[in-house]
């Protein structure tokens, strides 16, 4: 693409417009807002107070830490749950079936997060499908409380983010040459050794990029914690929402938004450092 034609630049225009008008400008506006603070006589002054209030009031950073830990947990769970699926779809099942199965995985995404969450409510409720079934077959007498707990929230978050873990892992696994596994097996490696020494190192970039997507989706989610989460499931995004909509303090809300962006990016950076991955490699 050395000789970029006029058409190329023409084609760039809509994308640039989109980026600048809908992403760059609103972010700049929020960025400036986040440094404005209403002082006692009602006028706006430049100040770091919006950011400081995050650290001063323990409720905010405690909520953030909780949100972050849960997001890391859900990301890990997503890996554990989906790795066998990804492996099965790429290495075990016949090609002609695997594309159909991937389609099945896609369907929940078409329905939309809100509807799938209402579906989970029907399943998990005290008088819901699962409890009714367990009572019918005589396994339990009183319903197990599943809905409105951290358990139901985790399920909801996991369900909506699973696919984003599977796809990158599948593309990493697809390029893994089967003969490597066969060779290791011939040389006497156990299944666990093959898994640990060949499959995992080879798919790490896929796992890492899936992990980043899932982590970001989960930490920025609002609906699942809000509807499926219990009475104590205060998510950090909910606090940002409240800043904008309940107290009309857009400045503090903007500051919290940027803190979420910065802190979650820092967590990802740290995770990449600890696992020895490079962002460029993961991103490709």
């Amino acid at each position: 693409m050395k000789n970029r034609s006029g058409t190329f630049y023409l084609l760039m225009v809509p994308v640039l417009l989109w980026l600048v008008m809908l992403i760059v400008i609103p972010h700049l506006d929020m960025f400036f807002r986040s440094f404005q603070f209403e002082n006692d006589d009602g006028s706006m002054v430049f100040s770091l107070n919006n950011y400081l209030s995050f650290f001063e009031d323990s409720i905010y950073w405690v909520t953030f830490v909780k949100t972050a830990l849960y997001s890391i947990g859900v990301t890990f769970l997503a890996f554990v749950v989906t790795f066998p699926v990804a492996f099965y779809l790429t290495k075990v099942v016949a090609k002609k079936y695997s594309s159909f199965m991937v389609l099945l995985l896609l369907i929940p995404i078409w329905i939309g997060e809100l509807v799938t969450i209402y579906g989970w409510m029907i399943l998990l409720s005290d008088n819901g499908v699962i409890n009714n079934f367990l009572i019918q077959i005589g396994l339990i007498d009183t319903p197990i409380v599943m809905l409105y707990t951290n358990f139901s929230m985790t399920i909801g978050l996991l369900y909506m983010s699973m696919l984003f873990m599977i796809i990158p892992m599948m593309s990493a696994l697809e390029s893994l040459d089967d003969s490597l596994i066969e060779a290791a097996s011939d040389l006497g490696a156990t299944k666990w050794t093959i898994f640990r020494q060949i499959i995992i190192p080879y798919t790490t970039p896929g796992i890492a990029s899936g992990g980043i997507i899932v982590f970001m989706l989960v930490i920025g989610d609002y609906i699942a914690p809000n509807i499926l989460g219990g009475k104590s499931s205060l998510w950090f995004t909910e606090q940002i929402y409240n800043k904008f909509l309940a107290t009309f303090n857009w400045n503090e809300g903007a500051a919290f938004g940027f803190l979420l962006l910065l802190l979650s990016s820092a967590i990802i950076w740290l995770a990449l450092r600890l696992t020895g991955q490079k962002l460029e490699k993961v991103g490709s």
Binding site: M1, T7, L11, P14, V15, W18, L22, D57, I59, V62, T63, M121, S125, D126, N127, G128, L147, Y148, N226, I227, G230, K231, S232, L234, Q239, N242, K243, F244, L245, A246, T247, F248, N249
Partner: protein, 389 residues
């Protein structure tokens, strides 16, 4: 001004049509032609949405309102009668304020905030314009309500709201499973442990204060005392948290949690409670002994309304006795229209006499305007309750 929907269309056009170019590095002439065609299509979609929104603004009423507030039949009648297109956006008090604040009062021709949420917002961000009462047919309205709303929405001597409807926040109870629940204090009564639910928002803090035997509205002019009261309320609700099944968050989750049997004693809106009563006679709305909380929703006109004429026509149309009666029959909320009672069906009349004996009716606590800064106090309290163990 580009509408949200056209914006989405444009985005769809851009992403759907242009994005593939950057994935495929090698594009042959044929494909290039195809892409150009698509691009021209996208551009014309953009141009079309721009122009169409300009043309349509002539005879369009952009209404920002609550769900249930604009039934299809009345919208169709209105469109036929005046040849005006009605575009409806469903919202809530908080969202209405946020939306209008973001556009500085533009984007909509008519909004329907609650009367207690107008004056403090208007003082801070001028997002509404004063009501021209000469264009409102006040003869068909209940005079006491008009006067009350005028007084409560007044800023610098001008009124910003016309009453549309009213209702109360009280309790919805499954009478078979919790026959004795009849007061706000039952929301922290250990008898109903695990079967209690409420919406953790400001009305609940007010309700809790009444349930504790206090009068929060009397403290509206004493911020320090109100702050102290909120501390006591916070403690009460944190202590009672272990009894709560969940906090409901929307009209839908409110209905779902009691209908499914996950909770038996919840805070709720009269219209929703009566709607549930129709489906399951065991469930009904109850006015709490320490006072149901009364709200009045209004018509208010955004500062940059582009079709004032249509806005006033809609206000007068919706409050015509026959239309207002039809609306109340549908939504179960009371109307500000004076003679609508003639058109109410017996079931709706029955709801009122069943849930509101005279003593409870007299005991309704009507929300006075919220003083500036109080929502900040309350938001912290709500956050702390939600985060508490």
């Amino acid at each position: 001004m580009i509408e949200c929907t056209s914006m989405a269309l444009i985005l769809e056009g851009l992403v759907g049509n242009v994005y593939p170019i950057f994935n495929t590095r090698i594009i042959n002439q044929n494909q290039r032609g195809q892409i150009m065609k698509k691009l021209v299509l996208a551009a014309s979609v953009i141009a079309l949405t721009f122009t169409s929104s300009v043309v349509m603004a002539e005879g369009t009423l952009r209404l920002l309102t609550w769900k249930d507030y604009a039934p299809t039949k009345l919208v169709k009648d209105f469109e036929a009668k005046y040849d005006i297109d009605v575009k409806i956006t469903y919202s809530s008090n908080e969202e209405m304020i946020a939306k209008l604040r973001a556009t500085r009062g533009g984007g909509y021709d008519l909004a329907q905030p609650s009367q207690d949420r107008i004056s403090f917002v208007q003082k801070k961000f001028p997002i509404y314009q004063p009501i021209d009462f000469s264009r409102v047919n006040t003869d068909q309205l209940t005079k006491s309500m008009v006067d009350a709303v005028k007084k409560n929405t007044e800023v610098d001597g001008k009124a910003y709201g016309v009453p549309h409807c009213y209702g109360t926040t009280g309790m919805i109870v499954n009478k078979k499973l919790a026959p004795d629940a009849n007061d706000w204090s039952d929301l922290w009564n250990p008898k109903y442990a695990g079967k209690i639910s409420y919406r953790l928002k400001r009305p609940l803090l007010i309700a809790t204060a009444f349930g504790m035997g206090e009068d929060p509205f009397a403290l509206y002019d004493d911020k320090a005392a109100y702050r102290e009261l909120m501390k006591r309320v916070e403690k009460k609700l944190i202590d009672g948290k272990k009894l709560v099944k969940n906090y409901w968050t929307s009209a839908d989750t409110q209905v779902a949690i009691i209908k499914s049997g996950d909770a038996n004693v919840i805070s709720g809106w009269d219209g929703k409670g009566w709607g549930l009563h129709k489906i399951n006679p065991d469930i009904d709305f109850i006015a709490p002994k320490s006072g149901a909380l009364g709200w009045i929703d209004t018509f208010a006109i955004p500062a940059k309304s582009k079709n004032l004429d249509a806005a006033y026509k809609w206000i007068n149309f919706m409050l015509e006795p026959e239309n207002a009666g039809y609306w109340t029959n549908q939504a179960s909320y009371g109307t500000a229209s004076k003679d609508a009672i003639k058109y109410l069906n017996d079931e709706i009349k029955g709801n009122f006499s069943r849930s509101f004996p005279q003593a409870d009716l007299d005991n309704i606590k009507w929300h006075p305007p919220v003083p500036d800064g109080f929502e900040t106090i309350e938001a912290k309290v709500l956050d702390r309750i939600k985060a508490a163990k």
